[in-house]
């Protein structure tokens, strides 16, 4: 098993909801563990070292999800809710050029509130919030590609 395959495995685990994966071959045994809270991956700085010795390429884990980060890990209430992208596409935070953002940091949101548009295959998808709370963080830049399940917003429920 080479480094690339291990990286692929980490990516796979990271995207899934598997807590732990062990692969055993002739002379090697690898265990990849997810951190308990996915949210902590989002807010932790990419340079932060990862504790587990079983993770050969820790940067891979954070790099896929971290878009905006602070220099040091931020203490965040563990009850934060992540709004994730339901599809692959292009993320837009406003209806069109010159229009206001659907939501900004500090805005209150409630179920049914449109938070962004994701354009996929020439289809324009208005993404509605399902929770009531306050937008704490916008994790993606306007007009950039997003992956399926990629965190878009952090919401503090109320």
């Amino acid at each position: 098993m080479d480094l690339k395959q291990i990286q692929e495995l980490i990516k796979m685990v990271n995207k899934s909801n598997i807590g732990e994966l062990t692969v055993e071959q002739k002379d090697i045994k690898i265990t990849i563990k997810q951190k308990e809270e996915k949210i902590t991956q989002v807010i932790s700085a990419p340079t932060q070292s990862v504790q587990s010795s079983f993770q050969p390429a820790p940067q891979q884990i954070t790099a896929t999800t971290v878009v905006t980060t602070d220099d040091k890990p931020v203490a965040v209430a563990s009850n934060l809710i992540t709004i994730k992208s339901p599809m692959i596409g292009t993320f837009y935070k406003k209806q069109g050029p010159g229009k206001p953002d659907f939501v900004s940091i500090g805005d209150d949101v409630s179920p049914g509130k449109v938070v962004c548009i994701i354009e996929a295959m020439k289809l324009f998808n208005e993404i509605e919030c399902e929770v009531k709370g306050k937008i704490i963080k916008v994790l993606v830049e306007d007009a950039t590609p997003v992956e399926y399940d990629q965190p878009l917003f952090l919401v503090e429920p109320n």
Partner: protein
């Protein structure tokens, strides 16, 4: 409990407006205010701010064309099946136009309607998706905006190769009657999409594909290249071949069509 569409007839009720900024915007407002029902059609004789794809406008002479938005409940389709609705709508429009304009009606990937090398119509689909427990989201509504050139014979010069049904056939049409006929066509295809689990619509789409097996110029970033169009994948990617086979998502490449 998943909610089944109350009625499978598209185009009922049929709301006729003399003038509106955009039928899609009107329809989206109905959805947002809880006033929408499955099958509702919004027709406008004139659009003052018709919308095309993002950042583009759809211009159309007042009283001469079809500007129609349909509100549908896409259940049980999932968000990742969105190309199916593109197939369904494009194939329905193409079949409808073929009755008048003949077999030279084609679908230009992903969802423009062409006659020979000229654009006769376009589609703009907007969806409402709820995030939540289902990670792929919950597809609540689709608003299908359709613009078709019917009786217009003078077009602004900046439009790339437009054509109307009147220019193709030499005849004048009643736009309301045509729009209702189109709704009937869409009803048939939409019900097929929802009830039958087969590839019929996708196969039809592939059969109607504009420039299939022909060489076309594309632009990707700064690179201009010529490639043969082999087809479209079941998820909606354009499959082309030059030295190697490549697949593109919409937005990755631009068509470079010659002015006719």
């Amino acid at each position: 409990m998943p909610q089944l569409p109350a009625s499978s007839i598209l185009g009922f009720p049929f709301v006729e407006l003399q003038s509106i900024d955009s039928t899609n915007k009107y329809a989206m407002n109905l959805v947002h205010t809880g006033m929408a029902s499955h099958g509702m059609a919004i027709f406008a004789h004139a659009q003052t701010a018709g919308r095309g794809q993002r950042n583009k406008t759809w211009s159309s002479e007042s009283g001469k064309n079809i500007a129609l938005s349909l509100i549908v409940n896409p259940f049980p389709l999932k968000t990742f099946e969105n190309f199916k609705i593109i197939c369904c709508v494009s194939v329905a429009i193409a079949n409808f136009l073929k009755k008048y304009a003949g077999d030279e009606i084609k679908i230009k990937w992903p969802n423009d309607i062409y006659w020979r090398d000229r654009k006769a119509g376009g589609v703009l689909i907007e969806n409402i998706i709820k995030t939540g427990k289902v990670s792929s989201g919950n597809w609540q509504w689709a608003v299908i905006g359709i613009g078709i050139n019917i009786n217009q014979t003078n077009f602004p010069v900046e439009l790339p190769n437009p054509v109307s049904l009147k220019q193709i056939t030499g005849k004048e049409f009643n736009t309301i009657e045509l729009a209702k006929e189109l709704c009937a066509e869409l009803t048939t295809f939409f019900n097929d999409l929802i009830s039958k689990n087969n590839n019929f619509l996708y196969e039809q789409y592939c059969n109607l594909l504009y420039k299939k097996d022909e060489k076309v110029k594309f632009k990707k970033g700064n690179r201009i290249f010529e490639a043969k169009i082999l087809g479209v994948s079941e998820t909606g990617q354009l499959i082309t071949q030059h030295a190697i086979e490549e697949r593109f998502d919409f937005g990755e490449i631009e068509w470079l069509l010659e002015k006719v």
